[in-house]
């Protein structure tokens, strides 16, 4: 998969993340990373390979297998002068750390009446398709998005991942970044040599269109782009909008697109029930209702634990053909 780009350097999604981390580690001595097997092993996905050579084991800190413990340690370190970047290997381990994230990190600024701050980044993964079964395949970004006090970032391109990671590290709030593990070494895209940041809270139109809006997050952006190509062949012009950050949410860009196209499908890899798609659909219903020519449709992961067998797993995640069929029916074609 690759975002169209005429000129410039193209690098992988995982490398863009590593580049952002390296630049911020170089820029600010208070930034450090901690997590399981992140130093010499470079994470289980090898995303951080080589960072320990430049920054040493103190700043690329291998931890015990104690997710709540080292997440809590990061919260305390963030409150007292450091800027930790926590690596939680699989998003499925979110259950282990949720007290430290939802009850501690997210609330400390508010509970203290603004006196204390928690400038930390929590990186974790999402995305099925790796044949890793029910406890290593979930996309749990909705959990974090439910808690006031957290910012939640779900980048889809190397360019976005790098620019948003740099913003997240500089942010004075706890920021959760969910990276689709299937994109680390498959998605390549334009990333300029020169430094840049992308502000948190700004959506991006990944493809312009006029008949229907496909709002898609993370890897689902590529599902939507593929569907848009299929739709083009039958004369339907689809716009693909990537919120990029779920909290804060750039409602305006989403709503403006739907006002223009009058139809919307929301595609996200989290479970469909009570999920991100439901929240985004409510935004459209609230703010673009009178512009709609069709019901707002949602496509998320099936409401089942992610199964192991490829024959079953592939059924659980939205695909381009499904989006294409849904869009076609909404457009009465």
């Amino acid at each position: 998969m690759s975002m169209p780009n005429a000129n410039g350097r193209e690098i992988f999604f995982g490398d863009a993340i590593k580049e952002a981390l390296a630049e911020e580690l170089r820029r600010d001595p208070t930034v450090f990373m901690l997590g399981e097997d992140i130093a010499e092993a470079g994470t289980t996905f090898k995303v951080l390979n080589g960072l320990v050579d430049e920054f040493g084991k103190d700043r690329i800190l291998d931890t015990p297998i104690s997710e709540p413990g080292f997440t809590g340690l990061a919260v305390g370190a963030a409150m007292t002068g450091l800027r930790p970047v926590v690596d939680i290997m699989f998003g499925d381990f979110s259950g282990l750390i949720m007290d430290q994230v939802a009850n501690q990190a997210a609330k400390i600024h508010y509970m203290s009446g603004g006196k204390l701050k928690v400038p930390m980044v929590l990186r974790t993964t999402m995305g099925a398709g790796r044949r890793s079964a029910a406890q290593h395949s979930q996309s749990l970004h909705a959990w974090y998005s439910h808690i006031p006090g957290l910012k939640v970032v779900v980048p889809s391109t190397p360019y976005d991942a790098k620019g948003l990671m740099k913003s997240a590290i500089r942010d004075d709030n706890p920021v959760v970044i969910l990276e689709d593990k299937m994109m680390y070494k498959t998605v390549k895209g334009y990333v300029p040599e020169e430094e840049y940041i992308i502000p948190i809270g700004v959506a991006d139109i990944k493809r312009e269109g006029s008949d229907i809006t496909l709002i898609a997050t993370s890897s689902m952006v590529y599902v939507a782009l593929d569907a848009a190509k299929l739709l083009e062949e039958v004369g339907i012009s689809a716009e693909v909008v990537d919120p990029r950050t779920l909290v804060p949410l750039d409602k305006q860009t989403l709503v403006e697109s739907v006002k223009k196209t009058s139809r919307a499908i929301i595609i996200d890899e989290g479970y469909e029930q009570y999920g991100v798609t439901a929240e985004l659909a409510s935004v459209i219903a609230d703010e673009a209702f009178y512009y709609l020519d069709a019901p707002v449709k949602r496509m998320g992961a099936m409401n089942v634990p992610i199964p192991f067998s490829p024959a079953l797993e592939d059924l659980t995640i939205p695909n381009a053909k499904g989006v294409f069929e849904m869009a076609k029916s909404l457009c009465n074609k």
Binding site: S66, G72, A77, T80, G81, L82, M111
Partner: protein
């Protein structure tokens, strides 16, 4: 510094008379504060509940008097004593408990979340054991930044049921962090005697990590303080964490509304602790017996503090509530 002769063979050469009187004043201040809190509850002037520290004053005072202002503490739901002992002012404390804008956290935290960065108080925490990661992280930051600060993590013996505490201790010893875990064993996990919840030895749990572990009489402020001085020095010298088990007793119920307690502990037990092993009486008797103070001194301290408490509570009762727009302030930094 005056050398104090003692009846027993204990050495208290590091604590002089003035300091002991100051500790008496601090303990009395906590008790008077808490008694006033109980009255506010009983007269329905205080929203919500509070967990009183009465009976355990020697621990907070003995430990905090061994710390510098810049050193960190984390506290618990039973945290008023820790906050006051670390230097919080009672007017802002009362204001916070009453939900007033003048409170430490603009009334957003309340009894269980008082934080005060000016006195190194990283916040009371209403998740049992929930601050052990934070305290350990603060110690991590101190070591990394080389600022010489020590972190003290207060918790009750109930927190020994939480995995986070052990994950934190493991990392603290592994990385030789300047953190002291102060376990206040007041015998009851809420409404349950620890013998029904805690297997084996409490001390052995910390000893298993190779952490320096001591057990003290939590009703004897001199012993608590002497021990704390040693552990703080140990931590400051970079020799790593310590675990301090303090045996104590909670005079009141789990919270102010826990009045009928006989189903979980007999009245005789409460009376025995109050009459025979009260931390304030223990210190005043010792000072008197050693000819270092007389009744007049204690009366003077008590009358000064009582007046201060009265003024502070009146200030808080008359202070305004936060403005409605404060509700959305400080969600994000």
């Amino acid at each position: 510094m005056a050398q104090v002769k003692t009846k027993k063979s204990e050495s208290i050469s590091t604590i002089d008379r003035e300091q002991l009187l100051h500790m008496y004043e601090q303990m009395f201040k906590i008790r008077a504060f808490e008694e006033q809190v109980n009255e506010l509850y009983q007269s329905a002037k205080m929203p919500g509940l509070a967990h009183l520290y009465i009976g355990e004053e020697a621990i907070a005072v003995g430990v905090c008097e061994a710390l510098n202002k810049e050193d960190y503490i984390t506290s618990t739901h039973r945290g008023h004593g820790h906050c006051l002992a670390k230097g919080a002012s009672i007017d802002k404390m009362f204001a916070e408990l009453l939900g007033k804008d003048a409170g430490y956290c603009h009334g957003k935290g309340g009894s269980m979340h008082i934080a005060d960065q000016d006195t190194g108080n990283l916040g009371a925490n209403a998740i049992v054991g929930g601050s052990s990661g934070i305290a350990t992280g603060a110690a991590f930051a101190s070591k990394r930044l080389g600022n010489g600060r020590v972190a003290v993590c207060f918790f009750g013996e109930g927190a020994l049921g939480q995995g986070l505490v052990y994950e934190s201790m493991n990392m603290a010893q592994l990385w030789k962090l300047p953190v002291i875990y102060v376990c206040e064993n007041n015998l009851y996990n809420e409404y349950t005697h620890h013998s029904e919840s805690t297997a084996g030895s409490m001390k052995a749990r910390a000893e298993a990590f190779g952490i320096l572990t001591v057990e003290v009489d939590g009703q004897n402020v001199r012993e608590v303080h002497e021990t704390a001085i040693k552990l703080v020095e140990h931590a400051r010298k970079g020799e790593g964490p310590a675990f301090m088990l303090c045996n104590t007793y909670r005079y009141h119920g789990h919270h102010v509304g826990d009045i009928a307690r006989e189903y979980y502990r007999p009245k005789e037990e409460e009376l025995k602790w109050k009459n025979d092993n009260d931390p304030l009486k223990n210190l005043s008797s010792w000072l008197t017996e050693n000819g270092l103070a007389d009744a007049g001194i204690f009366e003077q301290i008590e009358s000064t503090v009582s007046k201060e408490v009265e003024e502070a509570v009146n200030f808080a009762l008359n202070a305004p509530f936060p403005a409605p727009e404060e509700v959305t302030n400080h969600v994000y930094a």
